[in-house]
């Protein structure tokens, strides 16, 4: 192996201990005989490894979890109140015969719609919920913004396939 191939390994697999034993031995042999590559290895470690060795590992502040819990509680109670509306009205309008069933279903939707439009807060929450969902799916599918879209997906990643 020539020096440029060795330097490439010194910048990647060898440095990151991702090279197999055979390759490691080859690199070590070369380093034993080549002062230039030895110097290069030292420079890489100084410039690109040591500075990050003792990086601080802060945890998220307590308030983050509290906010998440609050948001979840709020979205759960929102779901419940919507469910109350649906089941409550169904009791009144669910009639046995199909024609009435259709009519009552239509009515239920009208009532729900009215309830939603009447309470603009709910409406906004629902709109916000859908906006978040749309954002999320866009983020999963859209690589455009982060420049990763031109690459082959790594094996074993099925999330997107499942969601679409």
């Amino acid at each position: 192996m020539d020096c440029s191939k060795i330097k490439e390994l010194l910048l990647t697999d060898y440095l990151d201990k991702q090279a197999d034993v055979r390759l490691r031995i080859q690199v070590q042999k070369h380093l034993g005989a080549c002062a230039e590559c030895r110097r290069f290895e030292e420079e890489v470690r100084m410039a690109a490894v040591s500075p990050f060795k003792n990086a601080a590992k802060p945890e998220a502040p307590e308030s983050v979890w509290i906010n998440i819990k609050d948001n979840i509680a709020r979205s759960e109670s929102r779901k419940l109140s919507l469910l109350d509306v649906i089941t409550g009205k169904l009791k009144v309008f669910s009639l046995p015969r199909p024609a009435f069933a259709l009519a009552s279903t239509t009515l239920v939707f009208l009532i729900i719609f009215a309830a939603i439009t009447k309470h603009s807060a709910d409406k906004n929450q629902i709109r916000e919920y859908f906006a978040q969902q749309i954002d999320f799916y866009a983020m999963l599918s859209n690589g455009e913004d982060n420049g990763y879209q031109n690459h082959t997906p790594a094996p074993g990643v099925y999330i997107e396939k499942y969601l679409f």
Binding site: D13, A48, S63, N71, F136, L163
Partner: protein, 186 residues
């Protein structure tokens, strides 16, 4: 990031808050730190972290999502943080068109925070800031969070050779920076 046991994920999917809290405890350190390194300020990193955990909560019902939770957390963290970082850059440049620079940069809490950081931390921040967001991401995932090439590939949705070439270029950039620093007597 710690592995999250399967039964914890299943319980959280059924709505058990204690199980979801266990997921938070296992993943929030990685999420918050990575976001903090990329966006470079604590309040945005907190917002990104909240955002990500709401998405995790909302998607636990999807089976395939649950079975790839760790990879998904890695990926959504990097993507959400890079997007927040770019949004900040755009907003900053727009703000500077209108406001005076002194007004906006004068007494920000982040600056005070930065002054209190250790020299080692300052060096890390300034080195990372010299890299492109993509190079920054591979260095954070590899050097600070210790991910394998395979995990980095899955997180960034790139193949292993692209991981190699990004790490190589990122480290070459860091080498250049250190040579320049030596030349300038720093």
């Amino acid at each position: 990031m710690e592995d999250i046991p399967r039964d914890i994920i299943e319980k959280a999917a059924k709505g058990e808050m204690e199980a979801f809290e266990a997921i938070y405890k296992a993943a929030s350190g990685f999420v918050y730190r990575t976001a903090l390194r990329i966006v470079n300020n604590s309040s945005d990193a907190q917002e990104v972290t909240q955002d990500i955990f709401m998405k995790i909560y909302g998607n636990l019902k999807h089976f395939e999502f649950r079975s790839n939770l760790k990879t998904w957390v890695y990926r959504i963290t990097v993507n959400t943080a890079i997007n927040a970082y770019r949004r900040n850059l755009r907003e900053k440049s727009r703000r500077q068109d209108f406001d005076s620079v002194i007004e906006t940069e004068g007494h920000s809490p982040e600056l005070i925070q930065a002054a209190e950081r250790s020299d080692a931390e300052k060096q890390i921040t300034s080195l990372l800031n010299m890299l492109t967001p993509e190079h920054k991401a591979v260095i954070i995932l590899r050097e600070i969070e210790g991910l394998s090439y395979e995990d980095i590939a899955q997180s960034l949705k790139i193949n292993i050779n692209t991981v190699r070439s990004r790490l190589k270029r990122a480290r070459e950039a860091l080498l250049e920076l250190s040579k320049k620093a030596v030349k300038n007597g720093l």
